[in-house]
């Protein structure tokens, strides 16, 4: 499932995938894979992304059951 909240949060800070990747120490392709829903990140990477974007885990990664 695509993570549109992550993409929106990143775009909201006018940040490119490469800039976010550099901040959290991963490759641009990994950020792209997370946004596209192709890769499920570990909690460690999730928290690093949340810190970089100034958001909480709930805001970016929590999925309500349908």
């Amino acid at each position: 499932m695509k993570n549109l909240r992550l993409k929106a949060a990143r775009a909201g800070m006018d940040m490119s995938q490469q800039q976010l990747a550099d901040m959290v120490g991963v490759s641009r392709q990994t950020i792209n894979a997370i946004e596209k829903g192709d890769y499920n990140p570990t909690i460690k990477l999730c928290t690093a992304i949340c810190r970089a974007l100034g958001r909480t885990l709930d805001e970016l990664f929590w999925e309500e059951e349908a």
Partner: protein, 174 residues
């Protein structure tokens, strides 16, 4: 296989090890540590598995042909190198196509040139050998003269995969 050939192989391995050692020391001095992120480590694990399975299938198939059909299709050294290049190529191409071959922040340009050069040199050496009268098939089985061809083909495949991926990534970044 004569002594000069074995000496050439040993020298080639030594030169390759020396080049990698120089690159590793230079990277360490520049502080350019080779680091893969968690997704890359995960994907590389899958690629290792694929390379390993490829090698297993090759070993079984090669052994079966030799054992049950009684056909000595190639000498032991050639068979070993075929398995080596086959499985390594599968691993590297899988890594390249899934963005897990180059470490975080590493640029593919230098590796593109290196793999292209190795492919070209191997294929040229193979062509020169053929021109000198060396044969691919000797006494009904593949001879070690095919190894340069296999090496060249493997590096050509890796080069092509790198080139396609690099061009695709550039287009996506635009």
């Amino acid at each position: 296989m004569n002594n000069s050939y074995l000496f050439g192989v040993a020298l080639g391995i030594l030169v390759a090890v020396a080049i990698f050692a120089v690159i590793a020391v230079a990277n360490k001095k520049r502080g350019a540590e080779v680091k893969y992120d968690e997704r890359q480590e995960f994907v590389r694990g899958k690629a290792y598995k694929l390379g390993f399975i490829t090698l297993l299938i090759y070993c079984v198939a090669a052994g079966m042909i030799d054992l049950y059909l009684g056909v000595g299709w190639c000498d032991v050294y050639t068979a070993m190198m075929l398995g080596f290049y086959g499985s390594v190529t599968v691993f590297v191409v899988k890594c390249i196509l899934t963005d897990a071959y180059f470490a975080v922040g590493q640029r593919p340009a230098g590796w593109l040139v290196l793999t292209g050069a190795v492919a070209a040199i191997s294929l040229v050496v193979f062509a020169v050998d053929l021109n000198d009268g060396k044969r691919i098939v000797e006494n009904g089985s593949l001879s070690h003269n095919t190894i340069n061809l296999v090496c060249g083909a493997a590096f050509l495949i890796i080069f092509a995969a790198m080139l396609v991926k690099t061009l695709r990534d550039r287009a996506a970044e635009r």
